[in-house]
Amino acid sequence: MTRLELRHDRVQWRYAEGDEIVALDLSDSVYLAINQSGGRLWPALVEGATREDLVATLVDAYGISEDEAARDVDAFVASLDERDLLERS
């Protein structure tokens, strides 16, 4: 199963408020704002998590359907991939 992990050499981050996160993409010094639900996924991505783990995180936190959680996880991961912030193992 593929694990997704944030590239620690590419991004620094801090909690802003609640689960909101502000991240700094070190490649172009752009600040990124991650919303609450994205902030819920963030710690798992810091440690490394599978897509299924991420889906389960959203389902457990918000009680949404697996289908909805899976769609949203895929979209979030895609936005991270656009910036090349994830590595896969």
Partner: protein, 355 residues
């Protein structure tokens, strides 16, 4: 990219609304899909603070790495080291500048490197007594980060070399912005928090919050070591005064049988008496009539560099500088009676505290 505007709502307004709504609505009703977007100019205060801390971390790392290349060892004081040490489980601790301690033997070299990196010494040209032992530098980048370069710490009477020896012994490592930096070991960090509190008194809340958290979380054995270190660095009365500013610190000070005697100077700081009161105390401590007169003159008419730094004046505005001097003199005379009264109170408190 550095945002210039903050979103026009209170820091926790949307969070409070979420929590209130959460009482009545299911989590699913509050859910919005995970989203990552470029932080634009319209951001919340909390986001801005987080961005600021990231910028400060970035500057810290670049300076520490440059120092390291030159063979300069650096210890990170306060700021990120306190956030990393004491604030967890969703608690946030923001910071506004970088505090670095270097060995006095390497201080000049460290300043040379900062200059080469484009940092500006904010008190260049000020008198030595105006600069004291902490040199304040401003980074050249867009983020404009303040970096305070220390050779000692507030209210420590021991020489700078002894401070470096104690603080650098058994230093610990932490990671910020992907880089390993050193910070003093826990007993020294506890001492720093108590001294920081003694320096500001109740003027600011975060030194007191840091101190309270440290007392709650750090073992008593570590505090005993911190007290021993304070003794060696001739900082014990200041440490005790700092601890006594918070309720848990009062208890700890009693348990550790810390001295109650304290100098007038420390009473003035820990009770947030005015700067003029502090200066009057220092003037009285200066020996000889001539010494006192020179001291008073230099305090009434500091260097233009100091005036510009203290009052945030534009370096080109001579008219504003002259006006600032006039206001300063007027203010000193206006506040003199109350400051003399405050000094007398501080002296009596110092005497009462001395068994």
């Amino acid at each position: 990219m550095w945002p210039t505007a903050l979103h026009n709502h209170s820091p926790s307004q949307h969070l409070l609304a979420d929590r209130f709504a959460g009482l009545f609505l299911s989590p699913a009703a509050l859910y919005t899909a995970p989203n990552m977007a470029t932080a634009c100019s319209s951001i919340s205060r909390a986001q801005f603070s987080a961005m600021r801390c990231l910028a400060i971390d970035s500057v810290t790392v670049s300076v520490v790495e440059k120092f390291r290349e030159a063979g300069i060892r650096t210890l990170l004081l306060k700021g990120a080291s306190v956030a990393h040490w004491l604030y967890r489980d969703g608690q946030t601790r923001t910071y506004g500048d970088v505090d670095l301690l270097v060995s006095p033997a390497q201080f000049d070299l460290a300043e040379k490197i900062l200059q080469e990196k484009g940092f500006r010494h904010l008190l260049a040209g000020a008198a030595p007594e105006e600069i004291r032992s902490t040199h304040v530098w401003l980074s050249s980048g867009e983020e404009r980060v303040i970096l305070e370069l220390h050779r000692t710490f507030h209210n420590i009477e021991a020489c700078d070399e002894d401070v470096w020896e104690e603080f650098s012994r058994s230093a610990e490592r932490m990671t910020i912005a992907g880089c390993e930096v050193e910070m003093p070991a826990e007993p020294a960090r506890c001492l720093v928090l108590a001294l920081h509190a003694s320096c500001h008194g109740k003027e600011f809340s975060w030194p007191l919050r840091d101190l309270t958290l440290a007392i709650e979380r750090v073992s008593r054995d570590i505090w005993v070591e911190a007290v021993a270190m304070a003794g060696r660095l001739q900082a014990l009365p200041a440490m005790a005064a700092g601890l006594r500013l918070v309720p848990l610190g009062e208890l700890l000070a009693e348990q550790l049988a810390l001295p109650t005697s304290v100098s007038t100077g420390i009473v003035i700081q820990s009770e947030n008496m005015s700067r003029l009161t502090g200066n009057l105390n220092l003037m009285l401590a200066t020996s000889g009539i001539r010494g006192k007169v020179v001291f008073a003159f230099r305090r009434m008419f500091p260097t233009p560099t100091w005036m510009r730094f203290r009052y945030g004046l534009d370096s080109c505005s001579r008219t504003r500088l002259v006006f600032a001097y006039l206001c300063r003199i007027g203010g000193l005379f206006r506040d003199l009676p109350s400051s003399l009264h405050a000094l007398h109170r501080a002296q009596r408190r110092a005497i009462r505290a001395d068994p």
